[in-house]
């Protein structure tokens, strides 16, 4: 009994490693290749989501989804130093949810219609969540958002357009078509390489339950929360007012700073000395 459990565990790890490597590599390149812009329509090859989508439809959806999100985080964000802080959590979660749901929707990878519907739903889910977060982000980052002339409109238009553009352009060209192309070609071929049985109606995980949906909604909530926290969350500390208005606070701050620096240096020296003596002994 225990043995069987272990086998599926390592198969999950295989799917994770596979998706992470491939999607990571793809996002690494999209990060490097400049985008094309014709007017405000952005033609970017940004969207390689078809890779995790395909794998989620053929293998364990959760492992593929997590692998994809981790791959993007590690290869393109951390390796290239384009890490956007807590905000990346938003992308992580939206990608995971989008891919997972798409993967769960497909019960029989031979059914082209289902594959297509699942692929496009994955994209729409991911994009919509991303857009909602993006709009909220700018709204909070810019002070007096409403008061700046032209800004609110431009934000809504650019973000809304970007979302539509991504769904129509990237979604169809880079997700729907490649997924429809790849799934039937890989089905039955790639599974034996990982030592697994191809997915069929019988072996599929079953329809999406309430649990999965609820989990997704909670995850989205966390995503928004993370984004807000990253951008604006702790306005409790009103730094600016303090410094600008009171000279004493400024002086105090400087003194504290200087003292702290001195203390740190002292500690530092002490440490260096003690390690030296320790080494001597």
């Amino acid at each position: 009994m225990e043995r069987k459990q272990a086998a599926t565990q390592s198969q999950k790890l295989m799917v994770f490693v596979l998706t992470m490597s491939l999607y990571g590599l793809a996002t690494l390149f999209t990060e490097l290749i400049p985008k094309f812009q014709v007017g405000i329509v952005e033609f970017s090859v940004e969207y390689f989501l078809f890779i995790p989508l395909v794998l989620a439809m053929l293998f364990d959806p959760m492992s593929a989804a997590l692998g994809a999100a981790t791959g993007e985080l590690v290869f393109s964000e951390i390796m290239l130093g384009q890490f956007g802080g807590l905000g990346e959590l938003e992308k992580f979660i939206t990608v995971t949810v989008g891919v997972y749901i798409a993967g769960r929707l497909v019960r029989n990878p031979k059914n082209g219609k289902m594959v297509g519907i699942a692929a496009i739903s994955g994209v729409v889910i991911q994009q919509l969540m991303g857009t909602v977060v993006d709009i909220l982000k700018v709204q909070l980052a810019v002070e007096d958002f409403e008061a700046v002339p032209g800004l609110p409109e431009s934000v809504f238009v650019t973000e809304g357009f970007a979302c539509l553009n991504d769904i129509v352009f990237s979604g169809i060209l880079f997700c729907l078509l490649p997924t429809l192309f790849l799934v039937p070609r890989l089905y039955g071929k790639i599974e034996p390489l990982l030592g697994m049985q191809p997915r069929t109606e019988k072996t599929a995980l079953g329809a999406l339950g309430i649990k999965a949906v609820a989990g997704s909604i909670i995850a989205f909530g966390v995503a928004i929360g993370a984004e807000m926290l990253a951008e604006n969350g702790m306005q409790l500390i009103d730094w600016e007012a303090d410094w600008a208005e009171s000279g004493t606070a400024m002086a105090a701050g400087m003194i504290v700073a200087a003292i702290l620096a001195v203390i740190i240096i002292a500690v530092m020296k002490k440490r260096a000395d003690s390690t030296n003596t320790a080494a001597d002994v």
Binding site: M79, A244, A257
Partner: protein
């Protein structure tokens, strides 16, 4: 403007060969492991990063932001980040704010619009540069240890190390597959405008198609890798607290780390001081 941009992006596309990209990425990943930044304690650097990733968002004072920016830029130079990454950084900042300015002009924006946007640019720039310094400059293994110390899941720190291990191999394989397409395929003529559009579509098609062989090849690899991981006790370690302790015991805060923290602190203090005088 559009023309210039189009020309620029075309030129870039021509110049950037796969080989160049690969070299830049590798340089960024492995080429700077002997810098001051790479040797710092990851925990200190992560705290440092957290400061510069969060604080600028709450401050709207130009002098303070500029000061932070200069400090962070200095550390980026110390970390010897690859050129391409810096170009990306520039593009990233522009695409986030410069672009928005242009659009806002259509909606009756004016030079007043530029001030909040400039502040936002400074914020974005500081935050991004801080991440470039920490994540590009830090040795991957130390980074993953640092993250683990702060309680990040083991899976993530494994992924980072593994990614650094596999990257050269994956890139080479991808490059070979693309070359197969290039040599055997027949790219449309790209001298006319119509040809250029066709050429672009062709390129994209090739990249998408290239993932078919790549998926199968990588699947073969993953199997060996995971079997080897099982033998090497990966899962055993994931649940064993003792192992985590052992891994993290190599982390030590040293003289240099203190110095780095103190100097950063001093710089911030000086900018605050300057702000208040003005």
């Amino acid at each position: 403007m559009e023309k210039v941009k189009k020309k620029l992006s075309e030129n870039i596309l021509d110049k950037i060969s796969m080989d160049f990209l690969r070299n830049q990425v590798l340089k960024n990943a492995y080429g700077n492991d002997d810098t001051v930044i790479a040797k710092l304690d990851p925990r200190i650097l992560l705290v440092w990063y957290l400061f510069f990733a969060i604080v600028p968002w709450f401050v709207n004072d130009v002098v303070f932001l500029a000061g932070c920016f200069i400090l962070v830029a200095a550390t980026t130079i110390l970390a010897r980040v690859a050129g391409l990454v810096l170009v990306l950084f520039g593009l990233g900042v522009f695409s986030q704010t410069g672009y928005m300015f242009i659009v806002s002009l259509f909606f009756g924006g004016n030079w007043e619009t530029i001030v909040p946007l400039l502040i936002m640019t400074l914020k974005v720039a500081t935050v991004s540069l801080a991440s470039v310094t920490v994540f590009s400059g830090l040795d991957p293994d130390r980074l993953s240890n640092g993250l683990m110390w702060y309680g990040c899941p083991e899976r993530l720190s494994f992924s980072i190390s593994y990614a650094y291990r596999m990257l050269p191999m994956l890139m080479e394989e991808f490059q070979n597959v693309l070359l197969s397409y290039r040599l055997r395929g027949n790219a449309p003529d790209s001298t006319t405008f119509g040809g250029k559009v066709k050429y672009l579509i062709y390129q994209i098609k090739v990249i998408v198609h290239a993932f078919y062989p790549l998926m199968l090849n990588t699947a073969k690899r993953s199997r060996t890798t995971v079997e080897a991981l099982e033998i090497k006790g990966y899962r055993y370690a994931a649940v064993n607290k003792e192992v985590k302790k052992m891994k993290l015991s190599s982390l030590k805060v040293g003289y240099n780390d203190m110095m780095f923290a103190a100097i950063s602190f001093l710089c911030v203090a000086v900018t605050i001081f300057t702000t208040t005088i003005i």
